[in-house]
Symmetry: C2
């Protein structure tokens, strides 16, 4: 175990023994999760902007796949993308935004790439939010998936390079893959390996000048208010409370 992995291991242990006595409000906890982000920035939303949420089941959240419309509740699912969208459409009503969700359950990066033309480039988003990576790791444990951390890093970098070639002005938001430790699916077999995916997402966000959403810190800090099982039922998929928590963090990435 090298020094970095020892630190990750300590991170795991600390998460599972968090005190629940702090008195910070949830909004303050969400804001504090960004404290570790060195160059915090917000994307300025413009009139008529098209915002696209991409990712796996956490983004998908049961959306109606045959509804291609922007801004429709059922087309946006019941997760963080929908609840962030509802707030975007409310708060920035004068901007006439169009919000799409094209997350698909089970996806890893290579599966985003397979459908990227239709489910991203053709939609011509002005703001593109991607949350991907938990399956790239998790499926190595449960689905015999052979991809490694290098696969994840290389595939995501290639996807973003391709995106920037077609949409040079797109503003990027990269979400950190996260897991809530000691809740069902997420046991110590995840650590320290899973932490490398979090680090890779952060580093790739930085290299593409994307806004990074530190979801791991968000979920860690939220446990000062309610236990992990309140925010996610299986350690991976957020509850409605967890989805709203993520949306609040996501909304920190944009401004009017």
């Amino acid at each position: 175990m090298n020094e970095k992995n020892q630190a990750s291991r300590r991170h795991f242990i600390r998460n599972t023994t968090l005190a629940t006595t702090a008195a910070l409000s949830l909004p303050s906890l969400v804001t504090s999760a960004f404290a570790a982000e060195p160059a915090r920035k917000r994307i300025s939303l413009q009139k008529e902007d098209i915002i696209l949420f991409q990712g796996d089941s956490i983004t998908d959240a049961g959306r109606k796949k045959d509804d291609a419309n922007a801004n429709a509740a059922s087309a946006l699912g019941s997760g963080y993308a929908m609840t962030a969208a509802s707030e975007l459409l409310y708060r920035y009503a004068d901007k006439n935004l169009k919000v799409y969700n094209r997350g698909i359950s089970g996806n890893k990066v290579y599966q985003l790439a397979e459908r990227w033309q239709k489910d991203c480039l053709d939609l011509k988003p002005n703001v593109l939010s991607i949350l991907i990576g938990v399956n790239d790791f998790w499926h190595t444990l449960v689905n015999n998936y052979k991809g490694t951390i290098d696969t994840y890093r290389n595939d995501l970098t290639a996807l973003l390079n391709r995106t920037k070639q077609t949409l040079p002005d797109v503003k990027l938001i990269i979400g950190e893959p996260f897991a809530v430790t000691a809740i069902k699916a997420v046991d110590e077999k995840w650590y320290p390996a899973f932490n490398d995916y979090r680090t890779a997402a952060r580093e790739i966000a930085q290299s593409f000048d994307a806004v990074f959403i530190p979801y791991q810190a968000v979920f860690d800090k939220a446990q000062q208010s309610a236990p992990g099982g309140y925010w996610t039922h299986d350690g991976v998929h957020p509850s409605l409370a967890g989805a709203r928590l993520m949306a609040h963090a996501w909304l920190e990435a944009v401004k009017g």
Copy 2:
């Protein structure tokens, strides 16, 4: 046309010609909608509180009827009840709230009464939110429904008396029936008659010491930011943006 009806008529005309130049933010517009409420109050939420949303299609919003669980996104639908619930569960995470939605599309007051034992009293809510009335009027225009304003007033009063008998400590929230004029279903045939349902809901709320949510003013004022068709597709059912607008107004009724 009596004096009251003339005022209502003027209200209709004013709503349909609202200027769209004001610079107030949406949160400020929502707050300003409460300016006309003489004795504004908020319900203090307690740990383990059970919160029940009741009403018609606006509350129902496509909820999964076979999911009786509290706090589940699909069981809460995709309307204001769900998006208010998501914020309640986030903001008051330390209270371990249980939120239910039992709205049913098409309902008028007498139909709430028919299922009140199972869909309200048996759930023993600490906070009960009711939004009912648009069908009590609308169906007189389109469904040959014979109920009158007196039916509405008497039925709703009886329902609340029955509720208070079984649940004397329940805290009540009454939403104002609303319509967005000049959008599809809502034409001048609605006025001034529909306004009497709004007035009745307000007076009943007052007589039961309920918190009243002035949704009509909320939707009127929101049109300073985006046109009526942005907030509702047919004048009656809110869009996702409209649902979030309602949720923000609803959240003004409670505090931690």
